[in-house]
Every structure is written in structure tokens, then in C-alpha cells.
Subunit: 137 residues, 6 copies
Amino acid sequence: MSNPSIMPPIEIEDASPEVRAIYEDIMQTRGTDWINNFWKVLAHDPALLKRTWDTLRATMAPGALDPLVKEMIYIAVSATNGCEYCTYSHTASARAKGMSDTQFMELLAVVGMANETNRLVNGLRPAVDEPFKRQAG
Amino acid sequence: MSNPSIMPPIEIEDASPEVRAIYEDIMQTRGTDWINNFWKVLAHDPALLKRTWDTLRATMAPGALDPLVKEMIYIAVSATNGCEYCTYSHTASARAKGMSDTQFMELLAVVGMANETNRLVNGLRPAVDEPFKRQAG
Amino acid sequence: MSNPSIMPPIEIEDASPEVRAIYEDIMQTRGTDWINNFWKVLAHDPALLKRTWDTLRATMAPGALDPLVKEMIYIAVSATNGCEYCTYSHTASARAKGMSDTQFMELLAVVGMANETNRLVNGLRPAVDEPFKRQAG
Amino acid sequence: MSNPSIMPPIEIEDASPEVRAIYEDIMQTRGTDWINNFWKVLAHDPALLKRTWDTLRATMAPGALDPLVKEMIYIAVSATNGCEYCTYSHTASARAKGMSDTQFMELLAVVGMANETNRLVNGLRPAVDEPFKRQAG
Amino acid sequence: MSNPSIMPPIEIEDASPEVRAIYEDIMQTRGTDWINNFWKVLAHDPALLKRTWDTLRATMAPGALDPLVKEMIYIAVSATNGCEYCTYSHTASARAKGMSDTQFMELLAVVGMANETNRLVNGLRPAVDEPFKRQAG
Amino acid sequence: MSNPSIMPPIEIEDASPEVRAIYEDIMQTRGTDWINNFWKVLAHDPALLKRTWDTLRATMAPGALDPLVKEMIYIAVSATNGCEYCTYSHTASARAKGMSDTQFMELLAVVGMANETNRLVNGLRPAVDEPFKRQAG
């Protein structure tokens, strides 16, 4: 048994009309008939729930980057931070958007490599090369 | 003036034949005529230099993921970890591979959002939903 | 079943007189009749146990900051680092000091936001504004 | 000289009407006549600028927690993550809201202690005590 | 029950000849007759499995540092990052190489202290002393 | 020019008798005639200065682990966290205790590798193997 969540999930049938409307919007946007626990615990602060959902929807929408690429970036951050729930939920989302086993393993290889070289740099402290300063901007 | 690097960069003209061969390989692979400071400080351990370069080349090569996507994942990790050198160098690489301003800003928006929700999850500790366990694998 | 702790907890009845005296001090200071697992595993190094307890008591004592504010800062750090045990234990402590649901959710909203903007900054690398340098000190 | 910011700051006089309106709102809300670099680099994505400012204003507004407490939580997160810009800017904000030297040093003492015990826990892996599970929720 | 691993472990009897050969090498090098789950999940990308194993073997081999010291450094990083699996596996390896209870507790005391002072520094931002710049290199 | 430290260093000649006594103890213990900036900024809270120095001296003293090994563990944590000041100061200390270039590079190779595999684990989530649970304790 894992530990209980610190704030209990607020189920759909127990939600206030304000929270329920956000739940409905999440389900409709995703084409699902259930709400995952992240939103159910966030619902203890309806304003935070609304802001977070609105921001997530705007951030993850198709734009200059493909939605699957955005999910993979989300996994990269979550694995770097070691967030277990987030790794499961965004790997599931990436799978639903078509991520193959091979793409997933390549993603993790890059994440691992970046975490390695970040620390080689942190220990050796090379100066940022002048060409990089010009090319980055 | 930033602080000096902890190990001094080994310039091409001062490199051992073993190190110089790796430098040549890096320049040829990248089509450039200079070596960035990361490799020059790593050169104090030629075996580590070689392993790191070989792994980087294999990891960042075109595969199931596009090389630009891989560079953006590298930026996501480096910004999450706060590695300054790595952020400059991989943003420069992503630029060289065609990343637009809009793509870069969208990437950072996802990185910021993921770091935010990772901590909402860490504080509230929701249980991983059963459907996510099945869909992630 | 979660994984076993790496060093087994040393129960009160099995503790050396030196460790038992610290346990007694913890219980008396807190007005409880039990010792939590953190101290029981730390007890494998009695000097470390004593230093850590003495420092914690001094650090968390009322001072220029309210003890509840200190607990909330502890939660902010623990959620940022993703330390599960620490999040449970310091949320419990904050609750015992009167933290409301609303305060807890506001705390997490700030923690999430700070983690987000930290990474927007890490990716964009703005220079520290001159007024901030003067005002911070 | 520190490194240049990766995206150049967009000054008030060069901003689009959309961005300028947000800048005006920031200055009016804060009662200042200048915009700090964080917003000026974020302005390359006006939608992200707007969302981030709206969320920051909502999150940092007086509520169940005092605005100064919120600034101190922001510092705690920024110091834990090592975000230099964020540490300067939010320490400046906390100063402007009245944080004393003594409060600042006590804040850092808690941040340091929490980061220490988070890792003692990570290495020893004690189980979450049953009373903490009940009291945290 | 902990959550299932995201990619299922590939057992020895189900492994391709390429993967099986690496498994055999791991078992022979370690003098064991079983493979731990890390390698079994990495096996979904045989090239990544091979590179990671080759690098690990080279990195952890006796050199200027004692293998036990290397395992303790691995624990220090894993506890700092909060990687549960890694903490168990490398503590087990360090035990197999002779790490005593006292050595383990001293190691964690240093890890805790370093994490504490890292954040005191991050909050106070002292300049790097000139003698340290000279002595570090 | 790097940014100014957030709290100004308190020089020896400006220190209170309480702080000066700690400075003297630090210099005498280390056999030096100067105090590094970390202690000078911490001196704004004399009780924190004293606790931190006492803990550091106890933690880094010869014990079951060699003082040089302890300094290398300190570097491993500081590079993982990206603390620039700490990396310079503890690399300088390790040099003063005899760390060779080869030892330093091997240390960083392990730090990099551990940070890499920590994230491969975080993304793939293998279960802790039963033998590791028994052997770690």
C-alpha cells in the first residue's frame, strides 16, 4: 500500500458546482469519462485548480511544437526531478499520443546524458564559449 | 569576469595525439573548426573524453526522434537543473538545427509548467491512477 | 508494502542510554510519547542524532519567524526536493501548529509558481537588475 | 561581465501594444516606474507573459498567508534550486515588504536544515509513521 | 504494492542473443547468477544497455580511487537526487565491498551537511574567494 | 563583475567578539590567516555561524572515512546541486588534502554517471530487487 494522498481526492459527485464545471471541461477536452487524482487533490483550492488547468491546456495545445513533443519534454522534466506520479501520467499521455517504445527509450537516453554532462560541467566550470553566446540568442 | 574554469582548457595545439584525434573527430562531425570548452576541460581524462563524445554522438544522432527534438529535451533538462553552460551550448545547437523563437518560448513554457506541477504533486501526494499504470507501459 | 528502511529503526527499549536520553528529550520537548522513524534510523550514529536534534530544535524555535511559518518553509523545501517522508512529517507538524487547508493550498501554489519561474529564468538567463542588487542586501 | 541573456530584453519603448499593456499593469500594481528583466525576456511570448503575470499576481496576493510569508517561501524554493536571479529578485521583494536581517537569516537556517534532513531521509529511507499519515491530511 | 515498472523487465530467458550476451557479461563480471531490474528495463534499448554497462564498468573500475569510495560517491549523488532504487542498489554494492555501518552514517552526515551549506550559499551568494580559484585548479 | 553577495561579508576587524572568536577558531583549526566569504556572510547570524562551524568540524574530522574522501563526497553533492561557490571551495580543500588531477576526474566521472542512471531509473521505474533490500541494511 502506498501512503494516502495528503489531501483526499474530491470525487465528482462530491464536488462543488465550480469544481464540477472544471472537471467536466477536463473530461470533455480529453474525451474521457474520468478525472485523474491530480485534479481531484488540487480541487481543494478551486482557483488554483482553474488556473492550473487553464495554463496546462494553453501550454500543451498544438503550436510551434507538436503535442507529442511537449509530452516528451514533460517526461524529461519529471524524470529529472524524480516525480513519480508525473512520470506515470505524462508517459501515459505520450503513449496516447503515439509515442513508441523506441521513441521513449531514446528520450530517456537523452535525459540521462543531459543529466550526466550537466554535472561534468558543474564540476569543471568551463567558461561559456563566445560563439555560443551569439548563437543562442 | 566569470570565475576561471577549475581545470584549464587543453587547447588543440597542446593536446596529446589521443586527445587531438578526438578533437578532430568532433570538428569533422560538426563541420566546425573550433572545439568548445566542455571538451577542452574534459580532455584532462582522455578516456572520459572519448566515452562522453562517443555516447553523445550516439545519443543525439537521428533515430526515432528528430535531432532538434533531442536538443530541446537537452535544454529542458539543463534549465531544470540550472546548468548555465549547458543551456547556452544546447540552445546554440538547437538554433543551428533551426529552432525558432516561438518554438523556444513554447519549450520553456512546458518546462516551467512541468516544474510547477511536479511540486504540486510532491506536496499533495496523489496516488498514481490505475489507468495511467496500464497506459504508461 | 513500501521498501524496508535501509538501517532498521532503533526502538526506545533497545536504545543505548545515550540515545535514550535524546529520545526522552525529543518526546518531552514535543509533548508526545512516541519517537518517529527519522530519529530511530539516525540513532545508528548517536553523535549525528544529537547534533541533528540540537540543530533542529534551535532552528525551529520561535524567533523572528513564527514556528508555523518555519514549518511551511520546511514543506516548501521538501516538496521542491520531492522528499516524501519529509513532506508527510512536516505537513503533520504544520497541521499540529494550526495550518488550515487554505493556508496549505496557498503554500503549495507559491511553491509551484516559484519552481516554474525558476526554470523560465534558467532558460532565458536575464541579468540581475541593478535595483534588485541594492534592495536585496 | 556576466553572460548576455539568451533572449534580449524587450524594452518598454519597443514593446507591442499587447506587451506594453502588461508592462503598465505590472508597474501600476507594484507602484514602480520600471520593469525588471524577467518580464522583458518573457515578453517574447506575449501569451506566456500574460499567463505568468496573472498567475503570479493571484498567487502572491494577500490571502490566508501574509504576502511577506509568500515571498519567503519563494526565496526558500529559489535557494533550494540555486536560481540566482530569483534569489536576488525575491529577496529584494521580501525586503520591500519589511523582511529584517534576522528574519532572512532564520529563513536560510530553516532552508539549510530542511535540505540537510531531506537527504538524511533519502539515504536511510525510514517508513512514514502512521500518525503522520493521519495528521498530515 | 509499489507501482509496476513503466517498461516491463526483460527476463534472461526472453532476451535476444544480443541482450543475453550483455546479461552474461554483467553476471560474470559481478560473480552473480542474477540480473537486477535496472538492466532488465534498460534492455528495451539494447544499444543503450550496452553503452550504459560499458560506461559503468569503466567508471567504477579500480583506478586512482578505490571502488568502495566510488560506490559511496554514487550513494551521495543518489541520496541528493532522491533516487530510491539507486540508493538501495548502490548501498547494497557498497556493503558488498565492505562498507561498515559507521562509514555509511559518516557518509550520510557529509551528504546532509553539503546539501545544507549549498543552500546557505545559494541564499547569501558570497563571492568565490581568490585563493580558492587558485587552489581549485 | 559577479553580483554582490546578498549580505555583505563581515570582516575580521568589524566582527563582534563572539564572531571574532569563531573566526579565530576557524583559522587556528585550518592553520590559515584568512577567513573565506562563506563564514563572513554567515556571521550575520552568530548562532547559525557557530552551529554550522561546529557541525562542519565534527562532520569533516577524520573518522571511519578519510578526510579526503569526505571532501570528495562534498564535491559530488555540490556538483550535483550546481553550487558554484561550494564546488570551488571544496575542490580547493580537496586539493590541499592531496587530491590529484586523476582522482578529481575519476570523481567527476562517477558523479556524471550517477546523475545519468538516476534519471534512467526515474523514467523507467524498476522495482527494487529483493536481494538489494536485504544487502543494503
